[in-house]
């Protein structure tokens, strides 16, 4: 061990630029540029712009309050009775109150129907519709849409909780910017202190959602609105026939809205807290489902945005290209990198891996501290998460990457998402047949 450390230190002090680039090309070229330099630059621009245009924000807020449009909050779900109760009561605390709550019970087999009917009788929710037979998340949301009367639709998950001003803040972008089709809320991890697994996810969410989506939103390439918290213009959803079969319907609807030429914005101050899987096994299952949808929706269903046609828009192309590059292609490239290191730098392999972990950890810490300045609302102090940052190398670099690879392979070769029990068989069968 002593020898190893000596070697490592000697290596670090003697490494030249050429050598460094040769060994860490992957980090420097892809991740360094995309996730540090561009992000940092965009965040700074965003802050500065926000400062100089703060009067526009005030005007937007005023026009929202002047109009006070009716909002339809739709909450689809199965066996969510107890959550719905808490959620409905907490929504009474929202600063913005002109909303109707529509709960769709997608074939629950527990006490949800009774709880729902009671909440309706007590006036906590406006509508409770139950499907005796499960139809899947998309159809449940669509059913809510069918009876929604609001000008904007807000899609919520029953098991999440929302900041008091969350509804107000997710609506403001519609009044702040032109041509907004949908706005995504900021999703944070509520159960971050439950286990190592949830802590790592909290860091991941902070990076990829709280920060990543500000950047994507600013670059105009935001391509997903979390199902847990999203606001949509109702007329646009009507035009699109609302949601298509999932999984991945959150991303799908966003792409469809983009294809119509509308912009998607991220509202970092519209905060929602969600519970994430607390074991790696559960997390693996969730991510396999999410990652499959990249192939199913980006690469298959919406491949047309990559090609010049009448619906072509550069921003859509860029959004897709970025997504596919950074997920699918880079994922493959990473294996090339590993092979490169294993075969070409065989003698130094242990040293290189050690150094790899050090570099990533240092950069993660730096990034975490730097970007914390841009996160308006944090669930725990920065110092709480710092001890876990070294683990992120394993979590990001290995765990998530391997899960992703497996999902891609399963979906590319077997269209595995169509067999996912997340949708009822009746819907999946049809989706597979129609290749959607």
């Amino acid at each position: 061990m002593q020898d190893y450390l000596d070697n490592l230190i000697t290596y670090i002090f003697n490494i030249g630029t050429d050598r460094f680039v040769r060994v860490f090309w992957f980090f420097i070229i892809f991740e360094g540029v995309r996730y540090y330099i561009i992000d940092m630059f965009v965040l700074l621009c965003w802050k500065i712009k926000g400062y100089f245009q703060r009067d526009k924000f005030v005007v937007a807020k005023k026009s929202l309050w002047k109009e006070q449009p009716l909002i339809s909050i739709i909450i689809p779900g199965k066996n969510e009775g107890e959550h719905i109760y808490k959620l409905a009561i907490s929504l009474k605390e929202q600063t913005y109150q002109n909303f109707e709550i529509i709960v769709i019970d997608d074939g629950s087999d527990d006490l949800t129907p009774i709880i729902g009917a009671n909440l309706k009788n007590l006036g906590y929710i406006n509508m409770f519709i139950r499907n005796e037979v499960r139809g899947g998340k998309a159809s449940a949301a669509n059913l809510g849409m069918r009876y929604a009367k609001g000008k904007y639709i807000i899609h919520l998950d029953a098991d999440c909780s929302y900041d008091r001003d969350a509804i107000e803040n997710i609506l403001i972008p519609f009044y702040r910017y032109e041509n907004i089709g949908a706005v995504g809320g900021n999703v944070q991890v509520r159960n971050y202190d439950k286990s190592i697994c949830t802590r790592l996810q909290a860091i991941e969410y902070a990076n990829s959602i709280s920060i990543g989506r500000i950047v994507n939103s600013e670059l105009g390439i935001l391509r997903i609105i979390s199902g847990a918290f999203g606001a949509f213009r109702r007329d646009i959803l009507d035009r699109l026939g609302s949601w298509d079969i999932g999984p991945g319907l959150d991303g799908d609807i966003t792409v469809k809205i983009r294809k119509l030429g509308y912009r998607i914005k991220f509202a970092p101050d519209a905060v929602c807290q969600t519970s994430v899987p607390d074991t790696f096994t559960k997390l693996k299952k969730q991510r396999l489902r999410w990652d499959k949808s990249l192939i199913r929706f980006r690469v298959r269903k919406h491949k047309d945005v990559m090609f010049p046609n009448k619906n072509f828009r550069f921003s859509n192309f860029f959004s897709f290209a970025e997504n596919i590059t950074y997920n699918l292609i880079l994922n493959a490239k990473w294996y090339v990198y590993i092979m490169d290191i294993i075969f070409n730098i065989t003698s130094m392999i242990q040293i290189v891996f050690g150094l790899n972990i050090i570099i990533y950890t240092i950069s993660n810490i730096l990034k975490y501290i730097l970007f914390s300045m841009f996160r308006s609302r944090k669930n725990a102090p920065i110092t709480y998460f710092i001890p876990y940052l070294p683990l992120m190398v394993i979590y990001y670099g290995y765990f998530l990457r391997i899960v992703r690879t497996r999902a891609y392979l399963q979906e590319i070769f077997f269209r595995a998402s169509y067999d996912d029990s997340w949708n009822p068989q009746k819907s999946s069968k049809y989706a597979k047949l129609l290749r959607i």
């Binding site: 409770f128 519709i129 499907n131 026939g241 609302s242 069968k429 049809y430 959607i436």
Partner: protein, 478 residues
């Protein structure tokens, strides 16, 4: 209380017929349709032979004499002559036999003598409660007839659909359905014992049993609504009522989202649920409320607020027969809530506490009151039955909040009385406020946001004033 009677009353004519049959020292007075009678004119006759060919007249006559309060009339032997075929249905056991010709007279004589003998055994007790008096009349009648069972029959002539002989006739003016409570009371007293026959639901305003059940809109309570299947088109996940898919011109179903034809249920679409649309207020909903409209008084209530009652067939117990002979030993009628002290008992116990405080001077005694000012409005809405249950629940909640030595009771005016030993006023007021909040919330949440008006007060009991004075004093504060 307005009532829509289902039968007509006949106004008696003024002519008197005096056909009388005499047989072995007994005289049978014949009463005919169209021949008028006056009830006093029946005095002195041993028995009556009623021409029952006219159903309405027969019913009127029988009900009139049987509901009379004087034993001279309501126990009088009565035979019918030329009975209408439908007569027996609701006048079962209200007459003593049929007269066809003079050859029946020896048998009738025997019946009349039996009744006379038994009638002499009957003791008339006047100082009875209202319930006891009515039940005693019923028992008297059955005793003199040697009948042991009180059977009910289905009948549209009763406003709750069933007729008990004697009881319905007596109660006509006071509301027949009260009879069920009276029978229940008599059963509790051990006079009769019942066997379940049927469960019925009664209007909580007029106790009528003729109800029209309809499914109504939960928001505006209109019954003008349409029901449609919800259709889920699998390929595009569209879901909406059947009418969204119906094509005006062609007789086929098309999906409004993807324009495809619906082909085969279970394959490309299904019907996961149904939805109702109110034509009055345009609401869409799945939870149809079931309301019952009372045909008698027109009140429209949720079925959960109807009064459930059991209709039973009763057998008269030994105690019941004795009651006919000797009068009834009835418990005093008062608001009785299980596990709670009755108000008169409470007063006695309070008096006792006051003596203790006065003589031993070691403990302080407070008397608190909680008056539920507008609770009677709720009673009108939800009916007596649900109301009694509510009072019981409220009292239980109060008991749970107090020390076990504290006494709780309620008077007939919705005022709860609580004695508090060894506590200061501040402490007591805190508890009272807690109770007040609890009641308000409980009632608000459970009874459609009914806002109950609650007053609380506490008085210090120091001197040996009369107990009634203390209660008056406290009620003034409320």
């Amino acid at each position: 209380m307005e009532k829509n009677r289902l039968f007509k009353k006949i106004t008696p004519l003024l002519k008197i017929d005096s056909a009388v049959i005499e047989f072995e020292k007994l005289n049978f007075k014949k009463i005919n349709v169209n021949k008028v009678w006056h009830i006093e004119q029946l005095i002195g006759y041993d028995a009556i032979i009623l021409d029952a060919s006219n159903l309405e007249f027969a019913r009127y006559f029988i009900n009139t004499i049987r509901s009379h309060h004087n034993t001279e009339y309501y126990l009088k032997p009565l035979f019918i002559y030329k009975p209408h075929p439908l007569l027996d249905i609701d006048l079962h056991n209200m007459y003593d036999g049929e007269y066809t010709s003079e050859k029946d007279l020896p048998e009738m004589k025997q019946i009349v003598w039996d009744i006379f003998l038994k009638t002499t055994e009957i003791e008339d007790v006047l100082s009875l409660s209202y319930e006891a008096q009515i039940i005693k009349r019923v028992l008297n009648y059955f005793y003199t007839r040697g009948i042991n069972e009180i059977y009910c029959t289905k009948s549209t002539f009763s406003n709750y659909g069933y007729v008990y002989p004697m009881l319905n006739a007596i109660l006509k003016e006071d509301g027949e359905s009260k009879g069920l409570d009276l029978l229940e009371w008599a059963e509790q007293e051990g006079l009769i014992t019942g066997k379940f026959h049927e469960r019925i639901y009664l209007c909580n305003k007029c106790s009528g049993g003729f109800l029209s059940f309809r499914e109504v809109c939960p928001s505006c309570h209109s019954s003008d609504s349409n029901t449609e299947d919800l259709v889920h088109h699998f390929p595009c996940a569209y879901i909406g009522p059947m009418s969204d898919f119906e094509d005006q011109y062609e007789n086929e179903l098309n999906c409004p989202k993807c324009n495809k034809n619906l082909r085969h249920i279970g394959v490309d679409y299904d019907k996961p649920s149904v939805i109702h649309h109110c034509n009055q207020c345009k609401a869409d909903f799945q939870d149809l409320l079931v309301h019952a409209k009372c045909i008698c008084c027109g009140v429209d209530t949720e079925v959960q607020f109807l009064i459930p009652k059991k209709v039973k067939k009763y057998e008269i117990m030994k105690k019941g027969k004795l009651a006919a002979i000797s009068g009834i030993l009835a418990s005093e009628s008062q608001k009785i809530i299980p596990n709670m002290i009755r108000f008169d008992t409470f007063k006695i116990m309070l008096q006792h506490e006051i003596y203790k405080v006065k003589y031993y001077k070691e403990s302080a005694l407070l008397l608190s009151g909680i008056h539920l000012n507008n609770l009677y409005e709720l009673q009108q809405k939800i009916g007596r039955h649900a109301y009694d249950r509510l009072i019981h629940d409220l009292l239980t909640e109060v008991k749970n909040m107090l020390k076990s030595i504290d006494l709780v009771s309620i008077d007939n005016d919705d005022t709860l009385f609580i004695t508090v030993l060894d506590a200061d006023i501040q402490e007591t007021n805190d508890i009272l406020l807690k109770i007040k909040t609890l009641f308000t919330v409980l009632i608000y949440d459970n009874f459609k946001k009914f806002e109950v008006d609650i007053k609380v007060a506490t008085i210090d009991i120091t001197t040996d004033n009369n107990i009634e004075d203390y209660i008056k004093l406290l009620k003034k504060e409320l």
